[in-house]
Symmetry: C2
């Protein structure tokens, strides 16, 4: 196959450790499926702040722009938490999303058999839960004008939430399209009883809905959605929502599966380009110990194969390998019941590579 | 005791039914505790739209302003869902909050012994959960300027989130004060890594925190809070947050207790004035059938006694009566395990009145 360029931004904490295993998996699929990857590494997040004085150096951004897909580890840590805004890892994250036009964040929330008991939800409630949250990622209150001013009652802070029809339409269409490939149910989440942006959102959803007659659409208010995710998680298929609501609901959905250490994510723009990363964070407390769970990152590679490259067979092979290794009882510390039998990051990566 | 004026806005759906039981309870406490109430009724919500062409008629508002406390049932229903904004029940709700200066919404999320199993969370996770969400209610993105305009990419909608230091300080102080009376733990929830309003919020919290040295303070990002509520609900004591985040998190917290039909709420302004209402909605599907559960509204009266009037003894008497009636096995349909043994709204009200 054509050589695909992968920009690797491993980031902070356990980022480099889990990314290394994901790359091993990619190398293995090169042999087996006749794929070819070229990896380039760039500084990003806290480490970029330390070494370059900015969380998103221009050469890292250029490298990403010149690539076919980006593999991200994780960013952040207490070291940078009290930095001014421009010197914070999250600012790099927001910057890379905007600069690469990654308007769609796709987060599958699935339950792993071996982790059913890790959820705080009752197993019978969780049964059959398999949903995807599609979050708008480059608009809304995250990117609107923000400032301070002196007001009549002391200092005031302002954030602006802005959405235009085109921004809403492209993410909502993606929601419908993903739903069409799954169980054909789409929940559009907004706060149309209060927000003007939500009213425009809902009008737009209703306007394009007739083009997807096979998809069953429901409008859910964000507060109600936060409740329904708890009450009937398995009734959701695809959830599409704006940036801030998606931030909250995708984390709630991830947590209720009990599988947060295992969940992958994709951030997509126009065309097939995408950025792939595990949902979990940089876990500074266990960084450098070789005990982090690489599965979420490895599953993010499967997402990349499927969504960016159309390597369906190789994607499925990775997912099956992960499943088989788990079924055989292998566990990293975070998901082990008997912690004394836990294996390390590299061992887990090796087992998955061997199982492909 | 001095005569207290209670403005009653029963609203729509089951509102009038549950409010009637709450008033019966108040009458009973008049005799027993030497209290005196004068009730005035006003139109509000959908019924006010139907009869007066506005969800919040001026005379209703004047009546509330002239009262010592407001007892609200519930508003809304499918009948008005597609109305233009000015003719929607929610608009009345937002209007009354603003007009009465009710900047603080207090929502206890407690687990009722008899409803432990109704939660979708595992009992061992829920064990000991007893938290209060304090939500800022008259600021933020709910009340900032909202408008549409033509932009380069079609129509645009804008919502503005605004907070000034004074608004943040008064709600946060209330958080600290409520925490001081409880387990002395306060979680302040924001999105300071993204929003300017959240950064001002966090600065303000940190500035006044030294005045409450006995309270243990943690800052929690809103997405993380949505997760932690699921993972460790019992570790929270008091949560204080801004309007939009509070809307989402208070509903999530209510749902995880499994007791949503039983939860009360208070909305407070400066001084002792307050508006009290059940957390549940107007339940149009069961309205008029005499089967609604009046307990949340009755418990809202207990909150009113405690927070507005300082009638501690009578408040406790109501709460104890509710507990005793439940312990004796009486249930309305929504909380009955054996639905055939369920009792109606009036019967439940009578039992509680008798138990006081
Ligand atoms: C770190 C933060 C800026 C980011 C966000 O809010 O988008 C994170 O929570 C996420 O969901 O990727
Ligand atoms: C009906 C709606 C406007 C309201 C809100 O969002 O505040 C409701 O959800 C609530 O929490 O009281």
């Amino acid at each position: 196959a054509e050589i695909k360029k992968i920009a690797v931004v491993a980031g902070d904490g356990i980022g480099p450790e889990v990314v290394a295993e994901a790359i091993k998996v990619m190398r293995k699929t090169e042999e087996l499926f006749g794929l070819q990857f070229e990896f380039e590494h760039g500084l990003f997040g806290g480490i970029a702040i330390d070494e370059r004085g900015t969380p998103l150096p221009q050469d890292t951004l250029d490298m990403c722009k010149g690539s076919d897909a980006v593999l991200l580890g994780a960013v952040g840590g207490p070291k940078w938490d009290n930095n001014p805004k421009e010197l914070r890892p999250e600012t790099g994250l927001l910057g890379i999303r905007k600069a690469l036009g990654l308007f769609s964040n796709i987060r599958p929330a699935v339950v792993f058999d071996c982790l059913k008991d890790a959820s705080t939800l009752k197993p019978e409630v969780l049964e059959g839960t398999d949903l995807i949250v599609i979050r708008e990622l480059t608009g809304g209150i995250y990117f609107g004008e923000k400032f301070r001013r002196e007001g009549a009652h002391g200092q005031e802070a302002i954030d602006t939430c802005v959405y235009n029809v085109a921004e809403i339409e492209r993410i909502v269409r993606q929601g419908f399209e993903v739903a069409q490939k799954r169980s054909k149910r789409l929940a559009s989440v907004d706060k149309a009883n209060v927000l003007e942006t939500s009213r425009l959102w809902r009008e737009t959803v209703n306007r394009i809905a007739p083009e997807y007659p096979d998809v069953e659409l429901e409008h859910v208010l964000v507060d109600n959605c936060a409740m329904q995710l708890l009450r009937r998680p398995s009734s959701f298929d695809v959830i599409v929502t704006e940036n801030m609501f998606g931030d909250i609901l995708s984390d709630e959905a991830a947590m209720l599966t009990g599988s947060i250490g295992m969940l992958s994510s994709a951030s997509l723009g126009e065309g097939s380009f995408g950025l792939y990363e595990p949902v979990h964070g940089s876990a500074p407390d266990i960084a450098g110990q070789g005990i982090a769970n690489p599965i979420a990152t490895i599953l993010s590679v499967a997402l990349m194969y499927r969504l960016t490259f159309g390597y369906e067979e190789a994607a499925t092979a990775i997912e099956t390998a992960v499943k088989n290794v788990l079924d055989a009882g292998h566990r990293t510390g975070d998901i082990a019941v008997d912690k004394s039998k836990a294996i390390g990051t590299t061992a887990m990566g090796d087992l998955i590579v061997a199982a492909i």
